[in-house]
């Protein structure tokens, strides 16, 4: 036939046509749209965009069908035992499913980068072709191909699982096995386990030995390949980890940035809230000011300041709300007419304490800082050098990265710090002797301090920070005229206060006058007094005074008389726990004012006490920290240090201890491990510590404050 003759001419035409038909573009264009079901689904979703729920519901139905078909989940390497079940679904045939699943798009296909690791492979492939005639020798500097690895696996791992040990001649791994055949000894295989040194020594067959030698050689080669491929994998993982580390750092910095702006915005929010309160208290209605509609309150501030006179008399601190650094160029003085406006209200609420406990002085922080979680455990986040000239005697903060208050031993001033920016934001002056204890409150912007001057003071930290920031900008305001941010002074004790604890609306304090007093924070009155007239306490005090007791460290400045009688106390609801200088922990019922339980065990003064729902933890001058079980009323755990324990804080996971040594002691309650942080500076000793949620702050004898994640 004539057609047969023209076949050779056809050949070229055909291959051209075929290559046109088989053009890669063909697949990429048609891979999804050529399958009716997918197309229909796609169209459905697109067309019903307005009726979104409908399309989604349909999609869900179909998905369900997809998953319910057969017990196996689609595309799961675990459940799919073979290819048939893997590609099976109710939509399309297995071939199409396979083609969709193993489709590589053009970008990915052409993305064969020439980075360093790739270069190795590149060379490798090139040398392979040059090595076609060469013998099987490994180049250690090159990474073997995956196929090498496969062959190696066959020779090492899969030999045993070959069920028949049948010898054929058409595949590489079986050839290797055929090489292991040892006719003389009827052994088909020479597993390395059988090659005991004794066997080798006793063997008289040269063939057996040569074959074993060859077999071992190939096994060693195989292992070498596996080793190199695994090493390559490690390299890959290393670079991935490097990459992830960079990304983590990036994300971490982002969290830091976000939190900072959050805090910034929140402080502005507080300012706005305060200003609104203030304006409202002046009787200005939101409707009467057109400016409020613009959302910008600074014109109001300006108009007020225009009419203001330099005359400035101290007004109630809680009401003295003024502009901060955020509204620059605005003087903080408030004009006299405004004060006149306020005077009627002054008459209504004369008690500054009642004025203080207004919603406006509530903490407005909605975001709790979580940053300490992202530091590795045991990181020193930051350090504030020379906070005080003398030892940091007590310290407290409200939330991690929040407001930190510190007091120095020789200084009567309490300093307020921003623990995010690590700068001083306030000064609290008013005590006439050194501050011995302090506590911040969860709800209000307040700090309560107890001092050797026998008073307790309640401070408004919010106004303190404002006044401090305004101090530099305002020349007319002398620091002496600057109103004290002390809202109230609790004066009933007749000797130095040594311990304080806030208990919602009440406060308990322990003093050297051998009393515990319970105060109502809202009225400022002492509502209950507990006397510590126990013989053991009296005896301890006389003993100390008689023996010329010489305290060390933080207690160095104390005369024997100053050794705190109440080292630590905490109240919750009607329960009170006290740790006293006789080493006894007493649990009180505040309704009756009686001791309901005593816990004995410490051999020396208790310096620190804190309890939660299950435990009381105490630190003592007898160098030990004891954990008491509240329900059993017995000692649960105890450990001893080399120096007297001064300050203890804890939560469910960690106990943080300051014991007058160079390092901060942390006890991990879950792993029961002792950890020491920061013992490098021999000069400074840890004097006081506070801990919350993995975030610890410690004050040292040289005035340094350190921030840790523990």
């Amino acid at each position: 036939m004539s057609r047969n003759d023209s076949f050779s001419d056809f050949k070229k035409t055909i291959s051209v046509t075929a290559s046109a038909l088989l053009n890669p573009r063909g697949i990429s264009d048609s891979i999804l749209s050529s399958h009716g079901q997918y197309e229909a689904l796609l169209k459905d979703t697109l067309a019903n965009d307005s009726v979104r729920g409908n399309a989604l519901a349909k999609f869900k139905d179909r998905n369900l069908k997809l998953q319910n078909h057969g017990e196996n989940t689609f595309q799961d390497i675990y459940s799919a035992r073979n290819g048939a079940s893997y590609f099976e679904n109710s939509y399309i045939d297995k071939r199409s499913s396979f083609r969709i699943l193993s489709y590589l798009n053009d970008d990915l296909l052409n993305d064969i980068t020439d980075d360093k690791s790739d270069e190795v492979n590149h060379k490798k492939l090139l040398t392979d072709s040059d090595r076609d005639t060469a013998k099987n020798q490994l180049r250690p500097q090159d990474t073997p191909t995956l196929f090498d690895g496969f062959k190696a696996t066959l020779t090492t791992d899969l030999k045993e699982s070959d069920p028949t040990k049948r010898i054929t001649n058409d595949s590489p791994q079986l050839q290797l096995e055929s090489g292991e055949k040892v006719p003389q000894t009827t052994q088909e295989n020479v597993p390395s386990e059988e090659l005991e040194p004794s066997n080798i020594k006793q063997s008289t067959s040269i063939n057996f030995l040569t074959d074993s030698f060859k077999s071992l050689l190939s096994t060693i080669d195989g292992l070498d390949i596996k080793k190199q491929n695994t090493a390559y994998e490690i390299e890959g993982l290393d670079s991935k980890m490097q990459h992830l580390k960079v990304r983590r750092d990036l994300m971490f910095n982002r969290v830091v940035d976000i939190e900072e702006s959050q805090f910034d915005l929140e402080s502005k929010l507080t300012l706005i809230r305060d200003r609104i309160e203030e304006l409202k208290s002046m009787g200005i209605q939101p409707e009467s000011t057109e400016n409020s509609k613009t959302g910008n309150s600074s014109p109001i501030l300006k108009s007020l300041d225009d009419s203001s006179t330099p005359l400035h008399s101290p007004i109630k601190p809680s009401l003295k709300r003024s502009e901060s650094q955020y509204s620059e160029g605005v003087s903080e003085t408030i004009d006299t007419s405004v004060q006149d406006d306020m005077s009627p209200q002054k008459n209504k609420q004369t008690d500054p304490l009642q004025l203080f406990f207004q919603p406006r002085n509530k903490k407005y922080r909605k975001t709790a800082s979580t940053m300490q979680q992202y530091y590795p455990v045991g990181t020193k986040i930051n350090s504030l050098d020379k906070c005080h000239d003398s030892s940091v005697s007590c310290i407290d903060f409200d939330v991690p990265f929040g407001i930190l208050c510190t007091a120095g031993l020789d200084n009567h001033t309490v300093k307020v710090w921003d623990a995010t920016k690590y700068k001083e934001v306030g000064h609290l002056e008013g005590h006439t002797a050194s501050v011995t204890c302090m506590e911040t409150d969860k709800d209000y912007n307040m700090l309560i301090t107890g001092s050797k001057d026998a008073t307790l003071k309640l401070w408004n930290i919010g106004t303190a920070a404002l006044d401090y920031s305004n101090k530099d900008t305002d020349e007319s305001d002398d620091t002496n005229i600057l109103p004290s941010n002390c809202v109230h002074s609790f004066e009933s004790h007749i000797d130095g206060v040594t311990a304080v604890s806030i208990n919602s609306n009440t406060m308990v304090s322990g003093s050297q006058d051998r009393t515990i007093r319970i105060w109502d924070l809202h009225t400022g009155h002492c509502i209950e007094t507990l006397d510590l007239n126990f013989s053991s306490i009296t005896k301890t005090i006389t003993d100390i005074q008689g023996s010329g007791f010489k305290p060390s460290g933080m207690l160095e400045g104390y005369s024997p008389h100053d050794l705190p009688i109440t080292g630590g106390l905490q109240a919750y609801d009607v329960a009170l726990a006290t740790g006293t200088c006789d080493g006894i922990v007493r649990l009180w019922d505040l309704r009756s004012g009686d001791v309901v339980r005593t816990l004995t065990g410490h051999k020396d003064s208790i310096t620190s006490l804190k309890f939660d729902t299950t435990n009381i933890i105490t630190g003592s001058l007898d160098k030990s920290v004891k954990i008491w079980d509240l329900r059993m009323g017995a000692l649960a755990d105890s450990f001893t240090f080399e120096s007297p324990v001064i300050s203890v804080d804890f939560d469910a996971e960690k106990i943080v201890i300051a014991n007058n040594e160079t390092s901060l002691k942390v006890f991990d309650r879950t792993s029961r491990k002792h950890l020491y942080y920061g013992g490098d500076n021999q000069e400074s000793l840890v004097e006081s510590v506070r801990y919350q949620n993995g975030y610890a702050v410690e004050g040292r004898s040289d005035g340094t404050v350190n921030f840790w994640t523990v």
């Binding site: 083609r99 193993s102 590589l104 296909l109 076609d132 050839q175």
Partner: protein, 155 residues
């Protein structure tokens, strides 16, 4: 001999492994965490699947190779080579051609790649030829039948 090459040839992909061996490879992958297993373990299983005689298993092997290709940029050249062989074996010549074209553009000097490319092209040609021959046969058959029909009609 195949053992002298570091890359497999098409004939290396022919002999199926024993089911037990394949199962060992599968268990290795699963033991290392399925999708997150090492490249080598997954390749071993994938290659074992490609060597098998079931078309579905071979497809699964190609799918795993595709995954390796996607996740391991350093192994891409190699993977393209294996992918070409895999696709060739599952009769997806269009895919094989696509892969081998990219590979040969990156490896113009590699003899094995060029050989493979040639084989794929020959196969495509051969398949097309088969189609043409069948088509031609049908046409010839119809012509003969009609010829006979007409001849018998003329009589």
């Amino acid at each position: 001999m195949t053992t002298d090459n570091f890359l497999p040839t098409l004939s290396d992909a022919v002999d199926p492994l024993y089911p037990q061996q394949l199962e060992v490879l599968r268990q290795q992958v699963l033991a290392e965490g399925g999708e997150s297993a090492t490249t080598q373990a997954r390749f071993n299983y994938a290659w074992g699947l490609i060597k098998s005689s079931s078309i579905d298993d071979q497809r699964l092997g190609v799918k795993f190779l595709t995954d390796i290709y996607k996740e391991t940029p350093g192994r891409r050249r190699e993977c393209l080579y294996y992918l070409t062989i895999g696709c060739y074996k599952v009769n997806e010549y269009r895919m094989a051609k696509r892969y081998v074209d990219v590979l040969s553009s990156h490896e113009p000097n590699n003899k094995q790649v060029q050989q493979l490319k040639q084989m794929v092209e020959e196969k495509i040609e051969h398949e097309s030829m088969k189609g043409i021959l069948i088509g031609a046969g049908i046409v010839a058959g119809i012509a003969t039948v009609t010829g006979i029909f007409f001849r018998s009609k003329r009589k």
